[in-house]
Amino acid sequence: MKKAITPYLFVGPHLILFIVFILLPTIYGIYASFTQWNLMNDPQWVGLANYKTILFDTESTFHTQFLNGLKNTLLFVLLSVPLLIVLPLMAAVALQHKYVRAKGLMQSILYVPGLISISAAALIWLLIFNKQLGVTNNIFGSEAAWQATQPYAWIIIIVMTIWGGLGGNLIIYRASLAGVARDLYEAAEIDGAGSYRKFFSITLPSINFPLIYTFVMTTAGAFNVFGQPLMMTDGGPRQSTHVLMMYIRSLAFGHGESIAGMASAMAVLLGIVILIISALQYYVMNRSAR
């Protein structure tokens, strides 16, 4: 009898936490998307009304907010993800070079910004792009008010994101590259293969799984973008960097009465987009790798 209970003493506490803080809120989040809810009173069931408004009611501000937020979020994903894959991969390959010294130091320098919070990093980047005092305008003579003009507003958001995000993928690629068998390269050299040939025929196929993993995870993370635009541009100029998470947050937790049902429907739609894109990426990359 005693034996039957002990395993649950070990896994039970976490199971309770999981149910309370992941399972229940997820189910409730889906349920709430079919309701009118102000976070205080009981939600009122409204069926598909929220989704109809968000997706099809061109008169509604929720519709325009959702479309604008989704467009800006997608733009952020398209701008940031390729750079967050290619730049760390290039850095990892360069660090792999047998004659390059101070690898550890350079790797640490590239990794450290990932340990800095978005809000602290943003204050420093805002200083750099500041119109009167910053580096960009003083040294490079740029006249732009970076935060308030496009495309500069997007550029500062992306620059800050790449700066903070490169290190994480870098160490994954570094570890993977170290695992690629030496004799493959040696055999290719004997056959007269050049650097590019070696990279595309040996390196890339060998790190296929880490590439898929980082691509899927980086993309899913990018869809949740929130802190960088909030801190750097506050969604401006004219809402052109206002991402979906910012709308979801201000609808549910902003000033005035909470519109949590509508916000939940937007959250579910964003969740569905993330799921579909992740599945597609995994499917396509896994397939082309074989």
Binding site: F10, V11, F18, G29, S117, L133, I274
Partner: protein, 283 residues
């Protein structure tokens, strides 16, 4: 072949790329630190400079003496309490639970584990709003509990611990069991020491993740005295307004990044090598 290796051209391309990248990565931080030691008048009159003309501490004394609208020491203390308690509890929970899912025998163990893992892949933007409601019902809004407890439910670290333990031979705990040791004894004296490397890595990443979390604290804290420093920094742009007090703004950011950078300085190898413990990703 051997002749060309001497002045390998690719070496210089690799160096040039890495050095430019490293400069771009490190200069913002240096520029931030140096600006925090420049006086307000110097910044406004001379504009950009990499190093201060006169080295002053006035920005930091101003920041530290503001205990009402932007109590940064208080925010830092809140962050320390949150991140340290969260980290210790993460280590406790994932070691106990990881032992359960990797070593103990009970019906449906693996099915349960993979069901939880599958559910946890569901994008967590969906549970954000109800999570707030639960925190509110528990009376945890504007308390440290709001940031210490919910993250313990995650599956990521647990997955890593389970993977790690699957690679550790069972001989040690089996022989202790034959000798009549019970599960708690095995957990404390055998499993915990075996798990040490993975627990250190998960602990470090939990600390950094908790310290740097931004979206969640922005939602659950409205009380200026209770919030962690990441959420506090969001308020600063209004308080030290529009870059007339740029030294204070940047100085606050520098103070907020010291703890995680210190942690990195002391535990660098765990951060960098963490990925080797996670052979699933390395491929």
């Amino acid at each position: 072949m051997t002749l060309t290796k001497g002045f390998s051209f690719s070496k210089y391309i690799a160096y040039a790329f890495l050095i430019i990248l490293c400069l771009l990565w490190v200069l913002p931080v240096i520029f931030g630190i140096s600006t925090s030691f420049r006086s307000q008048t110097e910044v406004v009159s001379t504009g950009f400079r990499l190093f201060p003309e006169a080295f002053v501490l006035e920005n930091y004394s101003t920041i530290l003496s503001n205990t009402s609208t932007a109590p940064i020491m208080r925010w830092l203390m809140n962050s320390v309490v949150i991140a340290v308690s969260h980290t210790l509890l993460v280590v406790l929970v994932i070691s106990l639970t990881g032992y359960g899912y990797s070593r103990m025998k009970f019906k449906g163990r693996d099915a349960l584990f993979f069901t939880l893992l599958g559910i946890s892949f569901f994008p967590n933007v969906v549970n954000l709003i109800p999570s707030y409601k639960i925190i509110d019902m528990l009376g945890w809004v504007n308390t440290a509990w709001a940031m210490i407890i919910p993250g313990l439910a995650g599956m990521g670290n647990l997955f890593l611990v389970r993977q790690f333990m699957l690679g550790v031979p069972q001989e040690f705990d089996e022989s202790a069991r034959v000798d009549g040791a019970n599960d708690f004894r095995i957990y404390v004296s055998i499993i915990l020491p075996l798990m040490k490397p993975i627990l250190i890595v998960c602990g470090l990443f939990s600390f950094v993740g908790s310290w740097n979390d931004f979206l969640w604290p922005v939602i659950v804290y409205t009380d200026v005295d209770k919030m962690p420093v990441t959420a506090g920094l969001l308020l600063l742009q209004d308080i030290y307004g529009n870059y007339r007090m740029i030294g204070q703004l940047v100085g606050s950011a520098i103070l907020a990044m010291i703890p995680t950078l210190l942690l990195f300085a002391f535990a660098q190898k765990y951060f960098i090598q963490s990925i080797n413990l996670n052979s699933g990703i390395k491929g």
